[in-house]
């Protein structure tokens, strides 16, 4: 049984301007000890998917209108909110992009971690402080005995993200959802944080769902990649397969447009047009308005096509692997 399984998840937003089908049929799974990358451009629904798992989307206007979120066999979508609170921050934790705004500026770092521990674990305050110190040490914060009583503004961005990770992992979650955890950080700090996540995963055996737009981060840290476009599944594949033999025209276009892979100074192959607004998604395959392979058949919902072990693509015209690029 997978740790987390999304089956045909649909989250829509009901606004005055119309219904935004931000997530419309997303299915994938995360195993224990596995890192799954969820990639796509802004508006592809990757953050809404993450928020839906813990049912953190603002309601109204948002609502999960269909599908299942199975966490250890339980359906989180139909779980009573009281039971869900026991899952949040305990067996599923989340870290966000902005370490600057995710910590409450009026409490010390220690207070915030200790409160999270007391909420979910049956320990007294002294023990909670010990656990917190232990976690801060584990995430590589120098002089944790001193840092624990400092306020968030006294810490650098990288340190804050470490504190967020310490807080998220203090209850030994089985699943960690990381929403662009390193986007706001410098590369040398990003390298530190990714290394830290890898090492903590090895120790605690948790599953990680890593949401990012950075294909470099995906290539280096994940085992499996889910590519989303316009709130729908485009492709899912083991990481090395995705980078060597992507089959969806969108994935291929995305990989081709990376400057790292093109000869210096050359024109980059691009995907024409831009991501349509969620109010104006085309019917059927949502990529068809920008796709070079589109045919009249694409007006229907694309079928799921198996391309190999763990590699599936949602497309009417799956492509052979792009030659030579990787």
């Amino acid at each position: 049984m997978p740790l987390l399984e999304l089956i045909d998840l649909r989250t829509h937003f009901f606004t005055d301007a119309g219904v935004l089908r931000s997530v419309d049929g997303v299915s994938f799974s995360v195993e224990a000890g596995e890192t799954v990358g969820v990639v796509g451009e802004s508006g592809c629904g990757k953050s809404v998917t993450a928020m839906s798992i813990l049912r953190l989307i603002p309601e109204p206007p948002g609502r999960i209108v269909g599908g299942e979120i199975r966490f250890l066999g339980q359906d989180l979508v139909r779980m009573p909110i009281a039971a869900l609170r026991k899952v949040r921050g305990n067996s599923i934790s989340m870290i966000f992009q902005e370490p600057m705004t995710s910590l409450n500026p009026v409490y010390t770092v220690g207070d915030q971690i200790i409160e999270a521990i007391l909420l979910h674990q049956d320990v007294d305050e002294d023990r909670a402080r010990e656990i917190a110190l232990d976690m801060l040490r584990k995430v590589g914060i120098p002089a944790p005995e001193q840092r624990i009583d400092e306020y968030p503004h006294q810490l650098s961005g990288g340190m804050k993200q470490r504190v967020m990770i310490a807080m998220a992992l203090s209850c030994q979650p089985k699943l960690l959802i990381a929403d662009e955890p390193t986007t706001a950080l410098d590369v040398t700090i990003q390298a530190q944080i990714l290394e830290l996540l890898k090492q903590l995963q090895a120790e605690q055996g948790m599953g990680i769902m890593l949401i990012t737009h950075d294909l470099g981060v995906v290539a280096e840290t994940t085992d499996k990649v889910v590519v989303l476009y316009g709130g729908q599944m485009a492709e899912v594949a083991p990481t090395s397969t995705l980078f060597s033999s992507a089959s969806h025209p969108y994935t291929q276009g995305l990989l081709r447009s990376l400057p790292d892979r093109a000869p210096p100074g050359s024109r980059l192959p691009t995907i024409p047009g831009m991501v349509p607004s969620p109010l104006q998604f085309p019917t059927g395959c949502r990529f068809r308005t920008r796709c070079g392979q589109a045919s009249p058949a694409c007006a229907a919902l694309p079928p799921r096509v198996e391309r190999g072990p763990g590699h599936a693509v949602w497309c009417h015209h799956p492509q052979p692997p792009a030659g030579g690029a990787a």
Partner: protein, 351 residues
């Protein structure tokens, strides 16, 4: 008084722009009497040349002063010391009237496509008014005709010129910013993280546009970015900054094939590559970038450098030329021009 310009504007082989010893410190005031208690040393003695038709990339992490350097060169912030020679003038010493006339020849593209366009002006006003200001269009109608040509050049429908910025997507706004910058037919453009806020597929479109415009209009770019993938793709030369000071300056090819400065090496190794399973060793630097208010003594990188030795804390390194056009500011290259690999863990002999 303005120093004589060492660049000959008539010599096509002379650099277009020369920056010499540029310094910008932001004072920090405290208390009721606004006493100065210190300063943020954003840029501390930066020198480089920008050749005609070339792209120089300025890279570094946040707080390294690359954005301030870009703005000090254009005198959008007043530099505290140093020279910027451009078109026969030393910009920091140029009188306001001269500077205003020179602005036509140097433009800037910003990172944030949302704050860089005035929300109360239409595209025709944003792109067209500068034309009238600098006398490139005599009438409003003439400016409008030019705006339409420019919009088509940057890949926007000309009929959108009466719209307001909020009606466009991030990528389209960045195109408008580019149209505004190239409208005045400048010699060089500072691109301040111009593609960093864009999605991958849009970023590729905008990079292509920048390359096309460079070709077509003979532009030179000063490309400020933290994205080394972009640097590798379009820069001819790279300037690496750390805490307001130069670390290394060389051609892009040399930088990526044989980086010399330990910081450059660490930076390159930290960048994740979209190629899974690529076997490589990674240096993970300890700690954070120190505060530019109180930068470390000696070499500013010594607190995080795996190869630091006592001299680094005591004495600031000089610029050492290790190969033609390849400058490194590190004690390891004092009298030694062979590369020192920080992955090897120890400095090579000879010192």
């Amino acid at each position: 008084m303005s120093a004589p310009d060492p660049l000959d504007p008539l010599d096509p082989s002379a650099p277009l722009l020369r920056v010499e010893g540029l310094v910008k410190h932001f004072p920090i005031f405290k208390g009721f009497f606004r006493r100065q208690v210190g300063s943020v040393r954003a840029v501390d003695g930066l020198s480089f040349d920008l050749a005609r038709g070339q792209t120089v990339a300025m890279v570094g992490e946040s707080g390294c002063g690359k954005t301030t350097a870009g703005r000090a060169i254009l005198r959008l912030v007043e530099p505290d010391a140093g020279h910027v020679y451009f078109r026969g003038h030393d910009l920091p010493a140029a009188p306001p009237e001269t500077l205003r006339a020179l602005r036509r020849h140097m433009q800037i593209i910003f990172q944030d496509p949302f704050s860089s366009l005035n929300p109360r002006q239409t595209i025709a006003q944003i792109v067209g008014r500068p034309l009238q200001l600098h006398g490139l269009a005599a009438t409003e109608a003439e400016a409008e005709a030019q705006v339409k040509t420019l919009m088509e050049k940057v890949g926007l429908q000309a009929s959108y010129s009466t719209r307001y910025p909020h009606e466009f997507s991030g990528g389209q706004r960045q195109r408008i910013g580019i149209a505004r910058a190239v409208a005045l037919r400048p010699d060089f453009i500072v691109c301040d993280e111009a593609v960093s806020a864009l999605d991958v597929s849009v970023q590729a479109q905008v990079l292509n546009l920048l390359l096309d415009l460079k070709e077509e209009l003979g532009l030179s770019y000063l490309f400020i970015t933290h994205d080394l993938g972009v640097v590798k793709h379009l820069a001819d030369e790279v300037v690496v900054l750390y805490l307001g000071q130069l670390c290394e300056r060389t051609t892009t090819k040399a930088l990526f094939s044989a980086p010399r400065h330990p910081y450059t090496q660490a930076l390159l190794s930290a960048v994740p590559h979209p190629e899974p399973g690529r076997a490589r060793k990674r240096v993970i630097l300890r700690g954070d970038v120190p505060s530019p208010i109180a930068p470390p003594s000696g070499c500013r990188f010594h607190t995080r450098c795996p190869l630091a030795h006592p001299r680094c804390a005591a004495e600031a390194p000089a610029e050492h030329t290790v190969a033609p056009g390849h400058v490194v500011r590190c004690h390891l290259y004092d009298g030694n021009s062979a590369p020192v690999d920080i992955l090897a863990g120890a400095p090579n002999g000879g010192r």
